[in-house]
Every structure is written in C-alpha cells, then in structure tokens.
Amino acid sequence: MGKLLNSRAFAISTGVFTVVGVFVLLEVLLRIGAINKYIVPLPSQVIMSLERIIFEENIMSRVAETAYEMSVSCAAVIVIGVPIGAVLYKWVALRRAVLDWVAAMAAAPLVLAFPLFLVMFGRSSTTIIVMSVITGLAPIIIKTTEGLLAVRPVLINVGKSLKLTQQQMFWKILLPAAMPTIFSGIRLSWTFVLISVVGIEFLINLGGLGQLINDLAERYDLPGTYASIGFVIVVSVIFFVLLERVETWLRPVK
C-alpha cells in the first residue's frame, strides 16, 4: 500500500477518479433533488449540450475570431515589448527611472480601462486587441530587461575578446543568452493577453469564445453555459500547455 501511495500513476488516476466521482455525485444529488436543478445542470446534460454548442453555435468561426484577436495581440506584444525591454537594458538612466512604473503597470487593473477604448474604437476587435496588448506589455518588458541584465559577464567578455561589434554582441550573445528568460516573459504576457481577450469578449459581448458564454447565459441555457465555460477552459489549458512545452524546449539546461 505504501508503495502504491508513492506511485505517480496511482496518484494521477486518483485525481482523475475524484473529478469523475464529483460529477457522478452531482448527477445523483441533482436527480434525487438534493441540489436545485435550476442552479446546477445535470453533468450528463452539460456533456450532451457540448454537441449542440459545437454544431449549432458556429464554434469554428468563434474559435477563429478569438484566435485572430489572440495572434494579433500576441505578435504586437512581442514586437513592442522586446525592443522596449532592450532599450531599458541599454539605457541605464531611463531604466532606473521607469522600471518601477512598468512593474506597477503589471500589477494594476488595466483591463478596467476597456470602456475608454470602447469610446475610441467602438465595439470592435480593435478595442479588444488594443486593450489586450496594453494588458500584456508589462511582463515581457520586465523579463526582457531582466534577461539581458542577467547575461553572465564572462559571455560578454568572450564577445569582447573576439572583438564583436555592438550589433553582433546583441544578436549573437546577449539575445540568445537572454532568450529563455524572454520566453518566460512571453508566456506570462500571452497568458495576460488570453485572459484579456476572452474576458473583454465576454464583457462587451463581441467576438468569439467570450461572447459564446455570454450568449448562452443570457438565453438562460444552463447546460449550454456550463458546457461553453468548460470548452473555453479546455482551449485555454491547451494553449498554456503548448506554451510551456516551448518554454522547456528553449531551456534545456538541467
């Protein structure tokens, strides 16, 4: 038994069984009327409604819309954030002046400014993209600067001893050495972007997956709402797992 308890596979399957068990228990409690059916739908109904959601709610075009907003925002975050991070690395006085501000930006509830962009760009993807880029910018700037600052001096000395130009030093030594840290910044930023894109879609009832949840909730389609939330979570988790894979692949050391 002790050996079994230490086995990883056993632990993981216990986890899976617990999740399944909770669903079964819910199903039973709902059917005997111990929980109000109008608050929590039957898990079986939720699973059944997945089919309906996928085939009747234009799921592909919704995924495509969210994916479009995500990819524009994610690309913009890198294109804007990494150079700013590099400038802050190079320009010491500026770094001392504004790095604290950038850190404060990362902690501030910036998404709350979405009504402002609603006024500027209307209820459009532009609003979602601009807001998401602003939300996601801080971590990537901070991590880029941090990564460049953490490049070991001896690697820079190797570059100097080989008489590298400033350009070569940046592209051949500083950037690759800082890459793992920069990528962890990208992962953080993209997580922020995902939260913001889906969140604003939901809040302003526009676009892809966020709107799906809102639509179903407003129709008071109980199983549908639960199923769509589940669907969005699965999509987000797949996104995070992929990002993590890339990150560990970039950081092979130990």
Binding site: A93, L112, L203, V232
Partner: protein
C-alpha cells in the same frame, strides 16, 4: 575566487555619488511626465482627434476633484473595498489550506495540483454567469468570483513555498527531535512566511481586477458599476478621472499590502 574578491574591493571606490544618481532619475521621471502631459494637452487642443477621446488635462483634473467630493464615489468605493476584502479573506484562507495540503503531500500534489495549476491562469471572469446563478446579482457573486480567482494564486504560491523549504532545515528540526507541532510553528511557518504573503499580495491584485470587472458586467453599486455609468453618459473627463483614481487606489492598496507583508512588488 580571486577574481570576485578583487572586484568587490575594486568597486568600493566607485560607489560614490548615490545622490546625483537619484537626482538624475528624478529629473528623467519629471521630464517624461511633462513631455506626456504637454503632448496630451497639445493633442487635445489641436482638434486633430475627436475631442472627447483626448480631453484636456484640466477637465480631467476638475473631474477628479468633483468625483472626490461626491458621496456616491465613497459609497461605491466602500462596496468595492468590502468585496475585495472578503474575496481576499475567503480565497486566501482556502488557498493556504489547499496549498499546505498539496505542498506537504507528494500524493496529493500528483493527484490534484495540476488541476489547480492549469486552471489558475484561465480567464476567471467567464465563471461570472455561474456565480450569478449561485449567489445572485448582489455583491455575493462578486465576492465569490474574487475569492475563486485569488484562491488559485495563493494555493499555488503556498504549495510551491512549502516544497521549497530547504530540506536541511527540516533535517535540523528533526535532529533536535522537534514534535510535529514544534516543526510547524518553528520551522515550516517561518520558512513559508514569504511565499504565502507574496501569494496573498498577488491574490489581492487578481481579486481586485475580478471584482471590478464583474461590477462592470452586472451590478448596481461599486466602482466598476460607476465606471460603466459614466461610460454610458460618454463623460470622458470623468471616465479618465475615475480610472486614474481606481489605479491609484489599487496601487496604494498593493503598496500597503507589500509593506505589511514585507514583500516588495
């Protein structure tokens, strides 16, 4: 080793003039603020952009002044603060409890931690319809959503902190034959203070965003509600003003929490 010793003595001579450096930093900061302010104002007066989008700084200032004298502002602030406080209290307690469970037990960690880990960064706001069904449209649903979002942050930070305790410290405790109670109070608790408090500070951030966003979606009180009210009137100076106030208040909250918990931003 020789090198590091020499460098340490070498830098001693150069460490002069911290004052001039701080002054330079301040000058740059003031310059940046001035440049932004002046170009904002110029843009606002030039008429190049739709005037409502870039209102004059003076009108924003006036709006802030007006908001700060409005009793409704303080009533809404109080509601939101109360929501955040309760979210943080409930979410952190649950988070610490679950975090200790996951952090102290390999089996529990393997069985359940990846669920917490992967759910943590998902967009919490999408659970709001469910929270409304369970807890109604009042503040309870916002508190529940806020608690849910900070639960994940605190739980992961606690579990991680628990595992990162230097194993030597635990061996030292055991070598002195400390009782489990003593181990908890004298070894685990002090060693975990920092990650737990740091988790709570991060949890404050997520609880704040979540509660405010939930208020913008559906509510009849709170700062988020107030923002949407102002938005529906297209009163841009007040919208900017209130957002600035909210960011400043959240920043101060974060700063105070950082000071109290001894963790920095």
């Amino acid at each position: 080793m020789a090198a590091s010793g020499e460098i340490r003595t070498a830098t001693m001579g150069f460490r002069a003039k911290p004052n001039s450096m701080a002054r330079q930093t301040n000058i740059i900061r003031i310059a940046i603020v001035l440049i932004i302010a002046v170009s904002w104002e110029a843009l606002s007066r030039s008429g190049l952009v739709f005037k409502d989008v870039v209102p004059s700084l003076f009108s924003i200032g006036a709006a802030i002044g007006k908001l700060l004298t409005l009793p409704a502002f303080y009533a809404n602030l109080q509601v939101t603060a109360w929501e955040i406080f309760l979210s943080l209290a409930i979410g952190s307690s649950l988070g610490i409890f679950v975090g200790i469970l996951l952090g102290s037990n390999r089996f529990m960690s393997f069985a359940y931690e990846h669920y917490v880990y992967y759910l943590a960064p998902t967009p919490r706001i999408i659970f709001f319809p469910v929270m409304i069904m369970w807890f109604g449209v009042g503040i309870a649903s916002k508190i529940a959503l806020g608690a849910l979002s900070c639960f994940f942050t605190v739980a992961l930070s606690t579990a991680g902190g628990m595992r990162e305790i230097d194993k030597v410290l635990i061996r030292v405790g055991k070598s002195f034959r400390a009782t489990p109670m003593q181990m908890g109070l004298k070894i685990y608790l002090p060693a975990m203070r920092v990650p737990v408090l740091n988790g709570i500070r991060l949890g404050f951030g997520t609880a704040t965003v979540t509660c405010l966003l939930a208020e913008t979606k559906l509510s009849n009180q709170g700062l988020g509600y107030m923002i949407m009210q102002i938005y529906s009137r297209f009163d841009m100076p007040s919208l900017y003003g209130l957002l600035i106030i909210v960011f400043v208040v959240a920043g101060i909250g974060n700063l105070i929490l950082g000071k109290v918990t001894g963790t920095s931003a």
